[in-house]
Subunit: 347 residues, 2 copies
């Protein structure tokens, strides 16, 4: 069994989540019965990763319902709607968050009285978590078949258990391979500027007892050449209908390097990350974040005063560089336009 | 005229060099008459950059000769040979260091007595510096013709004035273009782990009044795509007979990205960086440095305890990705085996 602390849990009317800002130095939890504190945790990025904040928002709704003092169903619903509005405003870009909140809200609206509302909301929130975990486990089962005993897998950022309720997306095949007794070594790109690879991916893999090494992002070429990398697996923030993948900045050059070395390059993502309303790369909005997040490290300026950074937080990898996309419904192969359409419509 | 402080100078039997570890925050100098302190400065990377450490090593030899208490020519030569041995052990990859040291040693061996040895060694060391500056100016004159008014040039690490005695190699075309009134914008990859791009390249370009932006190394793909990069120019630590280029880690993926986007990728290097005894990529020794240099930033660990980094300080870019190599003797174009042989033998 996997030895990994749970990213977020529902414990007897309370929510317990790992404060990821303290990693990798301390494993510290936030435990609260106050839904506002969970909203705060999302806002402060104590919990991050699109699927994980979806679960956190669902649990926040459950806290609001369970601890509500509303005397009537109407009042309880009004409270939950207000709670939903605030939760949705915490991180406006993640699509999983409004999706999870709305799902819980729908459950609440089906209740006949306050007591039933509480039950249905908690059940719906736990269902959001369970679905996420099942998706990832399925991605892991499909993806682990791509990993041979003794393989070295390279990844970027943290599409790990910490970014989800469990298993992660890019890490799920690694965890499943490990569970099934395969020896796997992981090379994690540190992922500037937030260092999610060095801080989070390295931490969770180490917790699970998997060998992991960290490298700077610019080492992707020489490491691919000299360290016997067998496979690259990355996560995805958005996948378009034609198979363009928006993910953490650095994914695209990593895919170019992998192609050059004939190393298979896989994307692992639940089908909920597919945006079928979008075709090509130009339609994906790429978040441009403040220069300060690059030019300051631990409060120290790395560039001279007056010199600013350009900070694109994501890049887009074209389908021609992607060997396959591992989803809970199967592995998609090129041509993606066809395979995505076929598999999603069959579901 | 260019407004740039001197990287390293010989001042009346002393060596004065910019402590580059203090940049961009402070312009602080190391000034010493002890050759061992200069060796230490090379080892600690207070001075770095292949041509600059060549000059520093030559100056260290000069300090050793000038301050030697040797009673005989034989003894003085033995001291210098020991000094040369230690200097060569400070940094393994750049070829300029042993080249400069051997050049000074040859001058010493031609001396008839200790007094002449001192004179000849100092003269040879100053000659190394003068040649370097002249080389770079010539590289600049040739390379600036590749830059059009309004161009955006991308570079990695610091193959700048700070990496040489003046002008730099990759930056020389930029400085010359600027001197000649062309508007140039530079995008500097920050270059983890030592951040020479953010700290040094951004600093010296700003000193010279050239517009510069910093980006994380992993942003090379999206920045090439969205920022209208017209040209990439990088330095070189070693160029083989067949045109393989060892340079700061990250150069190779940058070359892959440039090719993908049809952006010309130039290497700027003096012919002293050419190692004609070596053919292919496998023969270039790639310096592997301690994990700590990656996993600590400003004294803080970025990866969990027990997780180490793999740190290759250089990578190798194959000739097929290189548009041209700008040297003081002309711009070499493919096939490099031919053009390098022809140009070097004509000299």
């Amino acid at each position: 069994m996997l030895r990994l602390p749970r990213t977020i849990e529902w414990v007897d009317g309370r929510v317990r989540l790992i404060n990821q800002l303290k990693l990798p130095h301390e494993l510290e939890y936030v435990e609260t019965s106050d839904w506002r504190r969970v909203a705060e945790a999302i806002r402060r990025m104590e919990i991050r990763g699109a699927p994980a904040i979806g679960v956190a928002a669902a649990f926040a709704m459950a806290l609001a319902a369970v601890h509500s003092r509303a005397g009537s169903l109407e009042e309880a619903l009004r409270e939950l709607e207000e709670c939903a509005r605030i939760l949705k405003s915490t991180r406006p870009t993640a699509v999983n968050l409004p999706w999870a909140v709305d799902r819980v809200l729908r459950a609440a609206r089906a209740a006949a009285d306050v007591e039933e509302l509480r039950e249905m909301v908690v059940r719906a929130a736990l269902e959001v978590q369970r679905m996420d975990e099942e998706c990832n486990r399925r991605i892991g089962e499909l993806g682990e078949q791509l990993i041979d005993d003794g393989d070295t897998v390279m990844t970027i950022c943290n599409a790990g258990s910490l970014a989800t309720s469990y298993y992660g997306t890019a890490t799920a095949p690694i965890y499943l391979a490990h569970e099934r007794g395969k020896r796997v070594r992981v090379i994690a790109l540190e992922t500037r500027p937030y260092l999610q690879g060095a801080r989070l991916t390295a931490w969770e893999l180490k917790q699970a007892g998997i060998e992991v090494k960290v490298v700077t992002d610019n080492a992707m070429g020489i490491v691919m050449e000299r360290e016997g990398v067998n496979l690259v697996i990355v996560g995805a923030d958005r996948v378009t209908r034609r198979g363009y993948v928006a993910n953490k900045v650095g994914t695209y050059p990593l895919a170019l390097v992998a192609r050059e070395h004939g190393v298979p390059f896989y994307v692992a993502a639940p089908t909920s990350s597919f945006d079928l309303s979008i075709e090509g790369p130009g339609e994906i909005p790429i978040e441009v974040r403040p220069s300060e997040e690059v030019v300051y490290i631990y409060g120290r300026r790395i560039a001279p005063e007056g010199v600013e950074a350009i900070y694109y937080a994501f890049d887009v990898t074209p389908p021609k560089l992607i060997t396959g996309i591992i989803t809970e419904r199967g592995i998609f192969y090129p041509p993606y336009e066809k395979s995505i359409r076929r598999l999603l419509s069959a579901a």
